[in-house]
């Protein structure tokens, strides 16, 4: 069974033969990926595999040399980030994922920038239902929050946009193991269950696969495996491949600008 068979009817984000980089030799080559509505799709792989570059190519930040990015059937390749936001792609970066110097409430307001005051208030209520812990902290500046609270603010902010596709770059980076588990199991999984198409890039492969529907394994800029996440986890030899592949001695081409 292929990814397309599983996901086709409600395909939200389709990546077709993407080759992308930063002007030099391409960092990712000829990638194909599908993310359907309501599904969490994990992209795992070692450092330097091109995971971040893939996300930047989708988001119009890295240069797409060939291939297409389709959002709900429309070609959106290379569109600037602010246009993609209007079309319904939400993005949570790995670092700098909140607006320092702004209060939690203002961060959420900015998430709902494209909507009027009334819609923003409505969406804020909805986001606070998902993250009730933020309600007593609405007037706090985000730099006074804990790592977990900042991540909640970042995800709540992206929910304000009510995007159809969510792109999450290592949402557990810098969080403790317990907090990572909580973020993935309760928050990221919940986004899929809300009906969003979630593209999740994660270094913590096993944890990410545990909450994902489908998995792509990226090594040196190419997809080396595309499989049902649960199946990957169930097979001991596959887990071996994943854990083996996350060895730290891999190239780190992903550090390019």
């Amino acid at each position: 069974m292929s990814s397309a068979d599983v996901q086709k009817p409600f395909l939200a984000l389709a990546i077709r033969g993407i080759t992308a980089g930063y002007g030099g030799p391409p960092i990712v080559t000829n990638l194909d990926m599908d993310v359907a509505k309501g599904k969490v799709v994990a992209v795992v792989g070692p450092n330097g595999a091109g995971k971040s570059t893939l996300l930047k190519a989708i988001l119009g930040i890295a240069r797409v040399e060939s291939g297409r990015v389709e959002l709900n059937g429309t070609d959106v390749t290379g569109l600037p980030l602010e246009k993609l936001a209007r079309l319904g792609i939400g993005y949570v970066p790995q670092v700098d994922d909140v607006f320092d110097g702004l209060r939690v409430r203002e961060n959420l307001d900015m998430g709902g920038y494209l909507f009027n005051k009334h819609q923003r208030a409505e969406r804020m209520e909805r986001a606070l239902t998902v993250f009730p812990q933020l309600r007593p902290r609405l007037n706090r500046y985000v730099e006074t929050l804990s790592g977990g609270e900042r991540k909640m603010t970042a995800i709540a902010r992206v929910l304000m946009l009510d995007p159809s596709v969510l792109v999450l770059d290592e949402p557990t980076a810098g969080l403790s193991p317990e907090l990572s588990k909580a973020v993935l199991e309760t928050q990221v999984r919940a986004l899929g269950d809300l009906g969003k198409a979630v593209l999740l890039v994660e270094q913590k492969a096993v944890a990410a696969l545990g909450i994902s529907d489908w998995a792509y394994m990226l090594v040196r800029g190419e997809v080396v495996m595309s499989a049902d996440a649960k199946e990957v986890l169930a097979k001991p030899d596959m887990r071996e491949i994943f854990l083996g592949a996350t060895a730290p001695n891999e190239v780190t081409a992903d550090r390019a600008p």
Binding site: E82, D96, F99, M110, Y113, L161
Partner: protein, 296 residues
């Protein structure tokens, strides 16, 4: 004692002008990460636009408003045509400073070429003076203090109460993230450069009103205490620049009164260095810090 109180009064007036300029300078830096040294020459340009208007019989305060808007527009064009394209091409911060120094010098000499090198004056504004406690201030000084207070309050309300102002802060804090929220950051930049350019223009005319006479070096000389105020407050921090302006203004006037007027700037810089030793990011530096990604 009387001398010090009078100096404080003068310091508040000087501080108000410094704050006007420093806040605009800080807003520009906050939004674009560019240390725009041309700012000084643009203040001079504003003072000369004001001079032309006043010589045509326009009231000094109306001239201030018109010059402010004109310099606001010039700032937007300057940023769009020269600075933003250079940033997009990946020009380094230090090279950007050199570009703004060069552009400022060119502008300054264009002003000399047109207006000549001699000293100019707006003439006597109003002989009226105000007495408050033991302070004696001229009508011009009081008006500038009040005007600065109103503009700072307006800026505060804009930044904290309006979606536009929050979007300006968001763009300043994290441009990529702002774009991912659908904020058209280049439009926000234009607005920020217009507002800060208006403050620059207002400061230029205000400075000319409060000084007896001025020439083409008006803005260049004023740039140093203004940058000191902006850095003292934490560069990129509008509130820091307001406070920094007042501290620099009052301390330099008091220092001039109790010692030699030549030490005026020295005292301001000693305070600046001490503050930076204690708080390297300036008084308000911690609150608005963020790694800024410059992707246009």
């Amino acid at each position: 004692m009387q001398l010090i109180i009078e100096a404080i009064g003068f310091g508040i007036a000087t501080g108000a002008v410094i704050a006007l300029g420093a806040v605009g300078f800080s807003v520009q830096f906050g939004i674009s990460n560019i240390l725009n040294i041309t700012y000084g020459a643009l203040m001079t340009l504003s003072a000369y636009i004001g001079l032309v208007l006043i010589n045509h019989g326009i009231n000094a305060w109306a001239a201030l408003a018109i010059s402010a808007v004109a310099v606001g527009a010039v700032s937007v064009i300057y940023h769009r045509i020269l600075l933003a394209p250079l940033v997009r091409r990946g020009t380094r911060a230090i090279a950007m400073i050199i570009v703004t120094v060069s552009a400022g010098t060119i502008l300054q000499y264009v002003i000399v070429a047109i207006a000549g090198p001699s000293s100019q004056s707006y003439g006597e504004q109003s002989g009226q003076t105000f007495h408050f406690l033991d302070l004696t201030l001229s009508f011009g000084q009081v008006t500038i203090i009040v005007l600065t207070a109103i503009l700072m309050l307006a800026l505060h309300l804009l930044l904290t109460r309006t979606t536009l102002g929050k979007a300006m802060r968001a763009t300043s804090s994290n441009r990529t993230l702002a774009r991912s929220c659908g904020i058209a950051t280049s439009r926000i930049s234009d607005i920020a450069w217009f507002i800060s350019g208006c403050l620059c223009g207002a400061a230029g005319v205000a400075l000319a009103i409060t000084t007896v006479s001025f020439d083409f070096s008006l803005g260049a000389l004023f740039l140093i205490p203004m940058i000191a105020a902006a850095v003292l407050g934490g560069i990129g921090q509008p509130y820091g620049a307001m406070l920094g302006g007042m501290i620099i203004g009052i301390s330099s006037e008091v220092a001039a009164a109790v010692s030699n007027p030549n030490y005026k700037d020295v005292v301001a810089f000693v305070i600046l260095i001490i503050v930076l030793l204690v708080r390297p990011r300036g008084l308000f530096g911690a609150a608005w810090s963020s790694r800024r990604l410059m992707e246009g």
